[in-house]
């Protein structure tokens, strides 16, 4: 211990700035199945597991009824002409697999996590779910009952109500990014709607497959055997998303509970999507504002004033043309107004003063370090590739983004803040 006593704790250990890291995605391998379906994959022999994701152009933007995309996706695994919902669940769970059925704004599909040794047993079932769902009336009814109940519970939560309202305020009640399901929407679901949405949008030649983990030799052949054969159908054309129709007034207050202890605060605006030249700088500015623990909003509103357990900002990239920039917090009821004032104060500071050099370096180090952390492991890497490929982007786009994060100056950020952070263009929702 004598050596240990000499340690000087006021001297911080030297660090390697993550800005100097060379961040690259591990290149994927890819093949095309006989019908042209691309398979992108990363091999990791030290894994015992495999992740497989099959993606279709079947997201919210293709749906005319607010629940068409999500209900079709959710009910595809509730029965095929060969197997009942019960048998399907039994098989998936017997092999210890986890099936993640999802409908996003652009795409919908199925991610499946499993032990590699069980893939051969599970692939035929996945094929059945994708190509032969029958949407039994009884399962639809059960889905309606369960989801309506969940909705009634959610509509008692101020955070959920605030999230629904802010989307509606930004985009409009009928817009694909602004609408939200009501109980009556569940009632109006019916079998023909689901069957036809499935037939038009879960078209195999339009699928993309992403895979990572321990991929045994026969797997690619097996994929071709199941997913590479049907070639006749055509993929639906991608619809044009209409422009947002925002609310007339910028401030909306809503009361769920007269005696609520907290208020859910949302402050947001629409931004151009990921194709816009400012998008990468805006992403970096968002981190400074509210994208990490040491952000301006957290430092001021949580760590200085104690108004909230957490306040965050994020940019949600809906598509190439539209993104939403959103500040969210649950705060003490009495400090709801004070919170919104502080949020705008932080906007104005970012528009008025260049970000100090040491803060900017910290943000860059944090951001690059956390990107490295989020890309740790083949599943995370293939998910990043998926996100790029579905946006029609490639490694150059990714490299450009990293380069912007590394080289952006305080002046660059001051410039984008002045153009995009004007408090007057933001919309505000407070739910008590």
């Amino acid at each position: 211990m004598s050596e240990a006593l000499a340690v000087n704790r006021t001297l911080r250990p030297s660090i390697t700035s993550p800005v100097s890291f060379d961040i690259r995605l591990k290149p994927y391998a890819s093949i095309r199945l006989d019908n042209g379906v691309p398979v992108y994959f990363l091999q990791a022999d030290h894994y015992e597991t495999i992740y497989l994701d099959i993606v279709f152009p079947a997201g919210e933007i293709y749906a005319s009824h607010v629940l068409e995309a999500s209900a079709t996706n959710a009910l595809m695994k509730s029965g095929t002409s060969q197997h009942s919902a019960r048998e399907i669940n039994e098989t998936i769970e017997f092999y210890g697999a986890y099936l993640d059925a999802y409908a996003e704004t652009q795409v919908a599909g199925f991610g499946i996590y499993m032990l590699s040794k069980h893939l051969t047993a599970l692939l035929p079932l996945l094929f059945e779910i994708l190509t032969d769902p029958v949407f039994p009336e009884e399962e639809i009814h059960l889905y309606q009952q369960t989801k309506k109940q969940q909705l009634r519970i959610n509509l008692k939560k101020s955070d959920v109500v605030a999230d629904r309202l802010i989307d509606e305020v930004l985009f409009g009640k009928t817009h694909p990014y602004g609408r939200a399901a009501q109980e009556s929407d569940y009632d109006s679901l019916h079998r023909d709607m689901l069957k036809s949405f499935h037939q038009q949008h879960y078209v195999l030649p339009a699928a993309k497959i992403f895979m990572a983990g321990k991929i045994e030799d026969h797997v690619l052949n097996l994929l071709n055997q199941y997913f590479g054969q049907s070639a006749s159908q055509h993929a639906p054309a991608t619809p044009t998303v209409p422009p947002p129709v925002p609310a007339d007034t910028h401030q909306l207050k809503h009361t769920l509970d007269e005696e609520a202890l907290q208020a859910a605060v949302r402050i947001a605006r629409v931004l151009p999507g990921y194709q816009h030249e400012d998008f990468n700088l805006l992403s970096l500015l968002n981190v400074v504002l509210g994208g990490y623990f040491g952000s301006r909003l957290m430092s001021n509103i949580r760590e200085e004033k104690g108004y909230t357990y957490g306040i965050h900002s994020l940019i949600y990239p809906n598509d190439a043309h539209y993104a939403s920039w959103l500040v969210t917090a649950e705060v003490g009821r009495q400090v709801a107004e004070a919170t919104t004032q502080e949020v705008y104060h932080e906007f104005r500071r970012l528009m008025a003063e260049p970000i100090p050099q040491d803060e900017l370096l910290m943000v860059k180090n944090y951001l690059i370090g956390s990107l490295l952390g989020r890309l740790d492991g083949p599943v995370q890497q293939i998910k990043k590739w998926r996100s790029l490929i579905l946006k029609n982007q490639n490694e150059q786009d990714y490299a450009r983004q990293i380069q912007t994060f590394k080289t952006a100056t305080s002046e660059d950020l001051l410039d984008v803040a002045r153009r995009w952070l004007l408090p007057d263009v933001f919309y505000e929702v407070i739910v008590f």
Binding site: Y47, T49, R86, N89, G96, I153, K157, R302, Y366
Partner: protein, 430 residues
């Protein structure tokens, strides 16, 4: 199989090092042997409040978070009724920064009124956000008070009430630190893209001179065996009725734990489980129902919880749950069903093993339970369980006179019952 090296410093700090050549990332995890069960009944929520204060700066480092972020890292912490756990995830080249930070706050915290004042408010908002201003938010407060009468598991980690947090004083903070946050009360795990030979001297350098504290003699009142069924009905402003059954079960390190977890899985984990299949799909009493165990160090709870569909009476629903319980107690459990539960755990372990963070936290946790090596033996212990053992556990644990039953009912669906219950309270003088 997770490989690791283990050593103990002369001040009692236990250290585990796990090398992973596949990553350029590293995790530093520090587990302190203190949780909400160690709190004074009049000062509940303190262990968790204290966790927040650990980020308020230490003796030589005024701003903990800034240093982590500058090194490209992220950090967080959690508190349970048993333990408090802190972790930093950062690029492996900057590992020494994490050791510097964790050792300085283990040496001495910067006890500041300002930090205490702000974090009292932050934790009060956390309390409101998760437990007060949310439908069904007080369920766990009620269940704990029903199922535990003397053991400190009778309060939630967040605390019994807001006032306990509001009353916390700086003297309490200091006393708590020197009682519980000493190296001999902690387990350090360093994992990831590091080399044991290189990191060991750094650990000795930063942690070696921290003075140990008095050994902590944990003497908690143990819960006496439950003798009769406890029932409680409450009415709240929620849209759906809910049913909860909580049964006392063994502690995490007892041999029966494995059969108990498998039992809970078969009853109510997944859509093919007995409860879901029969009561959601076939009878349509519940919109969802599941079963799970609280794997706490001291005897825990096996919990069955579900939300009822409209127009289903809670008594009918509860009877249906009891019928499923009797069935698993009385009839032979199919091998296929037991195998399914084991398979699900096997893949769950494999997914956890893919994550460096989960590996680091689990190593610390199993070492705290008794031996980090147990982490690698878990699958085997589950595999050894027989159908007969599961049935045996079902018979001993799921007995009516050991049940704690909560009917958590919707005010708006039961207007007349609510009025009746208020009258009877008035008669009882409450």
């Amino acid at each position: 199989m997770v490989q690791f090296e283990r050593f103990t410093l002369s001040n009692g700090l236990r250290v585990l090092v796990h090398e992973d050549p596949h990553t350029a990332y590293a995790v530093v995890n520090v587990l302190y042997n203190v949780g909400a069960r160690d709190e004074d009944p009049d000062k509940t929520g303190f262990a968790h409040l204290f966790e927040h204060l650990m980020f308020g700066g230490s003796k030589h480092i005024p701003d903990y978070d800034q240093e982590v972020q500058m090194a490209g890292g992220e950090n967080n912490a959690f508190t349970s009724n048993d333990i408090t756990d802190y972790f930093i995830k950062l690029p492996a080249v900057n590992i020494e920064t994490a050791l510097w930070l964790e050792s300085d706050r283990m040496l001495e915290l910067n006890f500041s009124e300002k930090s205490l004042d702000v974090q009292r408010k932050v934790v009060s908002e956390e309390f409101k956000e998760h437990y007060l201003n949310k439908p069904y938010g007080d369920v766990w407060k009620i269940i704990r008070e029903l199922a535990y009468q003397v053991h400190p598991y009778r309060w939630m980690t967040i605390g019994k009430e807001l006032s306990h947090i509001e009353q916390a004083r700086l003297e309490d903070v200091k006393a708590f630190f020197y009682r519980h946050y000493r190296p001999n009360q902690a387990i350090l795990v360093v994992a990831g893209g590091i080399r044991y030979q290189e990191v060991k001297p750094l650990i000795e350098k930063w942690f070696g001179d921290i003075p140990p504290g008095e050994p902590y003699d944990r003497r908690l009142p143990q819960e006496p065996a439950q003798q009769e069924k406890r029932m409680l009905t409450v009415y709240r402003d929620v849209p759906a009725d809910a049913l909860y059954l909580a049964f006392p079960m063994c502690g995490r390190t007892e041999p029966a734990y494995y059969a108990t977890e498998l039992l809970a899985q078969m009853l109510g984990d997944g859509e093919s489980s007995r409860l879901h299949q029969q009561l959601v799909k076939d009878k349509k009493y519940f919109s969802h129902i599941h079963a799970y165990v609280l794997g706490s160090a001291d005897p825990g709870l096996l919990v069955i919880e579900g939300k009822l569909l409209p127009n289903v009476s809670v008594d009918l629903a509860e009877n249906a749950v009891w019928a499923i319980i009797r069935d698993i107690q009385e009839t032979r459990i199919p091998e296929q069903e037991l195998q399914k539960a084991k398979n699900r755990l096997e893949s769950l372990f494999a997914f956890e093993e893919n994550s460096l963070m989960d590996r680091a936290i689990n190593l610390a946790y199993f070492e705290w339970l008794g031996n980090a090596q147990w982490m690698n033996e878990e699958i085997h212990r589950f595999e050894m369980v027989t159908a007969e053992e599961v049935k045996q556990v079902a018979a001993t644990v799921l007995q009516p006179h050991k049940a704690n039953v909560l009917h958590y009912l919707s005010q708006s669906l039961h207007k007349t019952d609510v009025a009746a219950s208020k009258r009877s309270h008035a008669v009882a003088g409450s």
